[in-house]
Amino acid sequence: MTFRPGRIAVHIALILYTILALGPILLILINAFKTRRAIFADPLGLPNGQTWTTIGFDRVFANSDFGLYFFNSLTVTLVSLVLIVLIGAMAAWALTEYKFTGNTLLSLYLAIGIMVPIRLGSVSILRMMVELNLVNTLTALILVYVAQGLPLAILILGEFIQQIPKDLRDAARCDGVSEYRIFFSIILPLISPAIATVAVFTMVPVWNDLWFPLILAPGDGKQTITLGVQQFIGQYVTDWNAVLASLTLAIAPVLVLYLLFSRYLVRGLTAGAVK
């Protein structure tokens, strides 16, 4: 370990930026557990014996269906992810493995969805969901999110499938194994590492989205957590304890999951960028 003043300046710059990035989030987390008086008197202090309270959380749980919203978000996100990975892998496999006319054209057709935001079709999506009687259902959200997530997932999974050695499937084909079984018993288990990468690009935007829940499922207890928090805070603007507690409840699960899986997420992001 050599002592270099240049390096220290670099660390100071990075530490300062890290504080800027984390400070606002920590501020919300620590104040969520303090009394209203302490929130205003000493916003930067940690909660202590005198100032500790969970009254905000009690009010959130008493006045909103937070558990339900959380469950809705979880359902939408997980079902969307499973469908995107499964359906996306099938399409990616077909496009990378088989040579057929229209292959390139289909790949280009699917690529439109990477650049053009599906949001711009909201007018028609809402009309369609009204006709299908799917307004205020989680199914509507799942269908839209799967359509939104597929193009990028197919691109990422396609690159991943290309790296799988050819011998494996050729050996299986010599043994007369059907194409379906090759995909479901050989290829699908092998692409599980790519799921982390697909998850970064599909789960996070789905979990955090406000637009489609607001348009397609704004009521009837079908709100996702993002919309639920937005509606809750709209009603309780002046109740600082409740607002801070609801924000903390929305942040906490993402924070825990991110810190647990950040290694995979960050690797997925940088690996995807290299391509």
Partner: protein, 320 residues
């Protein structure tokens, strides 16, 4: 879909077939194509079609050609709001390009220094805000900048800038800049990661060769590393462009659908929402909403085409 998969049946029959019946290709592709076509491509096309119609109170629709766009661009009731939203959106984008991508590039340069200790910890922590919902981030900053709480002015006072503070989110002159910077703060991790990955990919020999030839750290950056990461900067720019011209959540969470004060934070996303759903005194109109969405689509396509045919081509010529 059938017309797309039908030729495949013939061609794989001609090519020495690895499989007996290529029905499986259709089976593998069908679910993805069906959902994608039905819920992504069809709505986009149908939106463009709807933008050519006008509806009346009874709900009947009639074909009006490009009249909706004429209304949008020149009718005094509409054009003021449209151009205002477009102008604000351009400012929003410009701030992201300069501040977000500038800071992202700077952080990536620092993080890619050889043998930097704790690099992955910095990366993970700085990227954290990006993972949170835009709505949550909006509320967090709304609280912090709230003069009632007073945390922002007291922090500024601590560094000697106390007199600088104002109700930034509430003033017409500063609201757009403030909202843009909140968004920059949240998403700086994305350009940082993408540029960092590109910098890691530069072979060390190249940098060593330049250093041996007497290039200082500044010329190594300017003449070796920067040209090599230009394609990534292009990708970052187009991603920023599409995300910014499609943004909505943050403004809606912080300023509501009216994008106040006095529409100073109104961007195309919030303008689209108000046009489509209506807000307070304004009645929503699906056909005008479709026209706004089509206009946004055209703007995004122009950006993507400029990137694909202008920027990316030139970059490829540059690198090879």
């Amino acid at each position: 879909m059938t017309d797309l998969t039908a030729p495949s049946v013939q061609s794989t029959d001609v090519v020495p077939a690895r499989s007996r019946f290529p029905l499986h290709i259709a089976v593998f592709l069908a679910p993805a194509l069906a959902i994608y076509t039905l819920f992504s491509i069809y709505p986009l096309i149908d939106t463009i079609r709807l933008s050519l119609y006008a509806g009346d109170e009874t709900g009947a629709r009639s074909f009006v050609g490009l009249q909706n766009f004429q209304t949008l661009l020149s009718d005094p009731n509409w054009s003021g709001q449209f151009w205002n939203a477009l102008r604000n959106n351009l400012v929003f984008f410009a701030i992201h390009m300069v501040v977000q991508n500038g800071i992202g590039l700077g952080l990536a340069m620092l993080l890619s220094l050889p043998r930097l200790t704790g690099g992955s910890v910095y990366r993970t922590l700085i990227f954290l805000p990006t993972m949170l919902s835009v709505v949550i981030i909006g509320f967090i900053w709304q609280l912090i900048l709230n003069p009632l709480w007073g945390i922002a002015p007291s922090l500024l006072k601590a560094v000697g800038l106390g007199s600088f503070f104002g109700p930034w989110l509430g003033q017409e002159s500063t609201a757009l800049l403030t909202v843009s910077l909140i968004s920059v703060w949240q998403f700086v991790g994305i350009p940082m990661m993408l540029i960092y990955a590109a910098l890691l990919n530069i072979p060390d020999d190249l940098l060593d060769a330049a250093t041996v030839d007497g290039a200082g750290p500044f010329s190594v950056f300017w003449f070796v590393r920067l040209p090599l990461i230009l394609p990534t900067l292009g990708v970052v720019s187009i991603l920023t462009f599409v995300a910014n011209f499609n943004a909505f959540d943050l403004i809606y969470a912080v300023k509501g659908a009216l994008a106040g004060p006095n529409f100073s934070t109104d961007i195309l996303g919030t303008f689209f929402y108000r046009t489509f759903f209506g807000f307070q005194l304004q009645v929503g109109s699906p056909t005008m909403g479709a026209a706004v969405a089509t206009a946004m689509l055209v703007i995004i396509l122009i950006g993507v085409l400029i990137y694909l045919f202008g920027v990316q081509r030139r970059l490829q010529r540059h690198t090879f």
